[in-house]
Amino acid sequence: MDLTFTPEQTAFQEELRTWFAANRPTDPPDDEDAAYQWRRQWQKTLHGAGLAGVHWPKEYGGRGATLSETAIFFEELGRAGAPLPADVLGLLLAGPTLMVWGSQEQKDRLLPTILDAEESWCQGFSEPDAGSDFGAVKTRAVKDGDDWVVTGQKVWTSGAQYAKWCMLVARTGDPAEAGGPAKHKGLTYFVLDMESPGVEVRPLVQITGSPEFNELFLDEVRIPDSAVVGGVGNGWKVALTTLMNERAGLAFFLQVRLRQQLDALVDRAAGAGGTDGVIDDPVVADKIADLHLRTEALRLLAWKGLTAIERYGQPGPEGSLGKWLWSETNQQLVEVAADVFGSEALIDGEPWAYELLRARGNSIEGGTTEIQKNIVAERVLGLPRV
């Protein structure tokens, strides 16, 4: 056991703290589109300092940081109260997927504009009838000369209104296979140009009132054969690469953010801001202690997971456990906050009111809690699938 950083890691941490202190953006604008542009500008600032793709290999313009350094980067990003870069999907999902599966031509064309925030990405995986059951994807791609003609509907596509590119999974095999035993076989992964004719993005408003995600309608959209990633019929495997990358790094950011939210909550509960020290109520104290415990466990689980990957090349159970524990803890936190802050958490437009509503999505987005439990039970504990 050694839960300290090496001198090099400490130096990197110091470098980041100094840089974030000097470069952290001011508060975001209220307007949705302006806020996006603000985060895009932030990504450009990060890129200028070589920090947009810290985890990207040097050959692709990244810093070539180790896993631990990447974790430190996301911890410090969160600690500085700085936002995630605008194109998280490109930096964390599309980029690393293309590095594994993309053609040289695709890498040369697509990777540089992810880093410098010139072009951003969205993810076209889920469909109205294919949520947790990814193999039920029905969007069809039919070969026509050198092109594929794609028709179907995607949903929950965050950032589609800003995206130039979409990681699109469509069925190139027999449509009858959708949802059947061979459902994974006929899928193909494409890079879709969102400016193609036949692409329509419709905002989907969340319970918070803001349209963070969209519906994506594809009506006979032509995609060139050169935009297939990883080969026709190999989409399941390519998509898994994307999904495997989904939580790497982010876990550290979210864990630090959770800690900050909790600190703010505890400080208020202890009496700051006129809450009369409700932490002296043993029931409140008990809930806050449990939140503190879970938040600390999340930090340790994240680092333990990293050790497993560094030492053995594969993640332990920490990833799925972490996502599940994080979402549940964040939901608990906003509920305790609603008790501690009182009406402030129930007035439209107040930050804690937004958190109270937004947190409901945590246990659904990125794989529902029910699916995470299945993953833990089947892949970690080895319980049988039926």
Binding site: M1, A270, D286, H292, E296, N374, L383
Partner: protein
Amino acid sequence: MRFELSEDQQEIQRTARELLAERSSFTQVRAAGEARREDDALWAELRDLGWPGIAVDEAHGGSGLGVIELAAIAEELGRAVAPVPFLGTALAGLVVQHDASDGDRERWLPGLASGELRGAVTLPGDAVPVPGASDEGLVVVAGADGPQLHAPGSGVAVAVDAIDPTRGHGRVTVAGAAPRDGGPGGGLDRATIVVAAELVGVLQRALEATVDYVKDRKQFGVPVGSFQAVKHEAAQMLRDVEVAKVLVANAAWVADAGDQAKLSEAAALAKAAASAAGRRVSAQAIQLHGGIGFTWEADLHWLFKRAQIDAVLLGGAGHHRQRIARYAVPRAAAAV
């Protein structure tokens, strides 16, 4: 950052596991439990190997290793529900070494390190049956003003038949205020971490037994472990165990190599997590075994009973969460 035991520490744990698989099988645990008698031959063997003194200073007859090594052994003894008076003796060693006077160290540590003298630790005013507490041993009551040491023959411990029949327990009724922090020199904190470590071992075994069982047991023509209702409970058990594990590992590391100012908080986090998991996981193990899990014939109840005692020994989850809440306040004030 390296979140795993070192090679040497892993070797200690592996050796302990192999020895106990041989010498503390459920058949042997059952023999001890049904006779309500500790396994003297096993205890003699562990004493010869120096286990009771693993974390006692070399100057006082121990091996001078840390809480990490001691916790690794305690975890294995928990996993095996070993019917020996190890836990109380090791806990007493930690409190005497870190929180007692030089004179008391000279007087008590050599006996505790060799296992010739048995020990026990409890909190003042606590009605918990204390493992290892007897009139033949040293009874440590860790109060707000530091530890009170009650010598053998003091009459402070009264033998009781606790629900866990695999080792001896005593009731110790000494009034007084419980310590706010974990002992003047961190001895009580270290002891608390080691109880949590034993509990983690018990729970890990209960989880493994449950997973094996639900893979094997068939109803409606399929293994019951294929049902989501069962899968999700098993996943919850794993999560509870993993959360306790990382917090115990962290606390043991803080004790040996970390910032001592953070020891009390780390120990409280470890014990709160282990105690909460202790109740839930041992109960769910019985539930997922169905009817057979509730029988005397199945071996789960040895684990369940040990877990109940460990969950409350040196403070239960609620006690430690109240401590944690107090640590959270200055920490948050400094950060906000």
